[in-house]
């Protein structure tokens, strides 16, 4: 018999972001700024977004309003960096801006979060705020317009910013850095190439799956995770096949946001710990690393814990029709969930060349031990439902190689 879903004895859930989703949603930016008491925002983006012409959609949305764009910064690097944060903060002060709008993917959003910390805390050194809950002052009005559908950064209370001088990645976590508004407009994700669409979608799927099987899960985060998985399953292949379908793009943007809200509260586990380390040491894109490692991470949990295996088994209902799901014996469902995720990976590999193994993603065998050592110091390890040693991490990496 399927194990009964239990309510945790205690949990906390928080998300304060206003969500505006739909066609022409961008046109709400000016009125949202007005409600936040801001008139002169700085727009932070990157070269890719501005060259794709996406920033024009945002600028045009201010037409006929009282809002003047204080500055536009489009030099955000691929990995958000303290150098860019300080430069943008300088421009913000010089132009006397009063709000921040981030238009882009994870790096742009994280950079904008860093800028907001520096400005709002009236600080000159971002390093002082590294870690959890270091922030104390209310932040400036902050609006996010994501141009990818995967990171969920528009609704998460964390930012990762590199300090190239010290060769470290600093993590900032605080409920205060949550944006005030997240705007999902399908026009902003339509130009995403199929391979990035596939990788970011798998990132979102990994967020949702890990959020549901993790020990910090709760009924509220589960609801968000389930909705995310349903939307991803229904749209992921179409999004990679036909990026011009606005309905599919909107569904994927929502899935990413829902998964973001879920994992921001119930956290992620071994798959993310390994993906962070793989990205840090071998520069494998985060979504690609997650896509490769997700089935192997789930197999590790299945082997280690019958309770977690049962949770993984329950996810199968999102990957098949109810009548087919009912036919599969309870103790075989977890394996079928992993197989269903592998099927998605295989389809994406055929459609757009998404790598299936770490070696295909450019990782060399001699790096595996270093990745395993780095992974067990990642914050996500604390939220793994089972104890993970560096040997365990290495075993998963070898299986994924």
């Amino acid at each position: 018999m399927q194990k009964k879903e239990e309510c945790p004895k205690y949990y906390e859930f928080f998300n304060s972001v206003k969500i505006i989703s739909g066609y022409k949603a961008l046109d709400n930016i000016a009125s949202e700024l007005d409600m936040l008491g801001a008139r002169k925002p700085i727009i932070i983006t990157d070269k890719g977004v501005s060259q794709a012409g996406l920033i024009d959609h945002v600028v045009n949305s201010f037409g006929g309003t009282q809002v003047a764009i204080g500055a536009l910064y489009d030099d955000t690097p691929v990995d958000s960096s303290i150098v860019a944060v300080n430069e943008i903060a300088g421009i913000y002060r010089q132009q006397e801006c009063d709000a921040i709008i981030a238009v882009g993917g994870g790096s742009v959003i994280d950079t904008a979060k860093g800028v907001n910390i520096v400005i709002s805390e009236e600080a000159d050194d971002l390093m002082k705020f590294t870690g959890n809950n270091r922030l104390t002052k209310p932040m400036k009005p902050f609006i996010v317009v994501p141009t990818t559908a995967g990171t969920g950064s528009e609704v998460t209370m964390a930012a990762v910013i590199a300090n190239p001088a010290r060769n470290v990645k600093m993590q900032f976590t605080s409920p205060l850095i949550l944006p005030k508004v997240a705007i999902l407009d399908p026009v902003m994700t339509m130009s995403m190439p199929p391979k990035i669409t596939a990788a970011t979608a798998m990132d979102a799927l990994t967020h949702a799956v890990e959020a549901y099987i993790g020990p910090q899960k709760n009924p509220v985060s589960d609801a968000f995770a389930f909705s995310a998985i349903e939307l991803i399953k229904a749209n992921i292949i179409d999004a990679a096949k036909n990026g011009k379908d606005r309905d599919v793009r909107l569904a994927m943007a929502n899935a990413s946001l829902l998964a973001g809200i879920s994992f921001s509260n119930s956290m992620v586990g071994i798959v993310h710990a390994l993906a962070h380390a793989t990205g840090g040491l071998c520069h494998v894109p985060h979504g690609v690393a997650n896509a490769i490692l997700l089935p192997h991470g789930l197999e590790f949990y299945i082997k280690k814990s019958p309770d977690i295996a049962a949770r993984i088994g329950k996810l199968l209902r999102f990957f098949m029709e109810p009548e087919d799901y009912a036919k599969i014996p309870v103790n075989e469902r977890e394996k079928n969930t992993v197989a269903a995720i592998r099927d998605i990976n295989d389809s994406l590999n055929t459609l757009c060349g998404l790598p299936l193994t770490l070696s295909q993603a450019g990782v060399t065998k001699d790096k595996l031990e270093a990745i395993a050592s780095a992974a067990i110091n990642d914050g996500a390890i604390a939220f793994c439902p089972v104890e993970v040693s560096s040997e365990d991490a290495l075993e998963i990496l070898k299986a994924a190689f």
Binding site: P8, Y11, N132, Q171, Q216, N377, G379, F383
Partner: protein
């Protein structure tokens, strides 16, 4: 007559729970000190932290314990101000701390339930969590350990000797 509600209400002090938590934090501090001296894994872990490093485990408006690392020396220094600590593990209130210290909720569950928060570098916290786990294996018998940590290690003669050392250190410290 003035209503009782108009008077200033002074909440009870929760003296007993505070003192029990204080005592447990003291033992935990001494446990970390002993673990660093006697358990190679704990030493290896703490040697990865910066040479000058302070860790504070405290309760909001409640008792605390501070560990100082200076080169290859680790010392428990009692209750100090957490303000300057490099890393802080903060339990949100004395009720949560009491439940955790008395094994009614495990340390991992305290993390999963958001009953605590961390101030400082998360990678350092991961190291300190592993050190705290080792210190707890020195402080509690195996049949109680499952209430405190995720995986209970096998009981060895070495562990039993180290446990005796931890309790001897803590007892001496109490009367020093």
């Amino acid at each position: 007559m003035r209503s009782k509600r108009m008077c200033k209400i002074v909440p009870p002090e929760k003296w007993l729970k505070t003192q029990i938590t204080r005592l447990c934090l003291y033992f935990l501090g001494m446990g970390i000190e002993t673990a660093y001296k006697n358990v190679p894994q704990a030493k290896r872990e703490m040697d990865t932290l910066p040479d000058q490093f302070s860790f504070c485990f405290n309760v909001v408006n409640g008792p605390s314990m501070m560990i100082l690392k200076n080169g290859h020396t680790v010392r428990y220094v009692g209750e100090k101000e957490a303000y300057h600590a490099d890393l802080e593990l903060v339990l949100k209130n004395i009720e949560f701390a009491y439940l955790m210290m008395t094994g009614r909720i495990s340390t991992p569950d305290a993390v999963y339930h958001n009953r605590q928060f961390v101030r400082g570098n998360l990678a350092y916290m991961m190291t300190m969590i592993r050190v705290l786990n080792i210190a707890q294996t020195l402080l509690f018998p195996n049949f109680l350990l499952r209430f405190y940590i995720k995986t209970v290690p096998r009981l060895t003669m070495k562990t039993m000797v180290n446990r005796a050392k931890a309790y001897a250190n803590a007892t001496i410290g109490l009367f020093a």
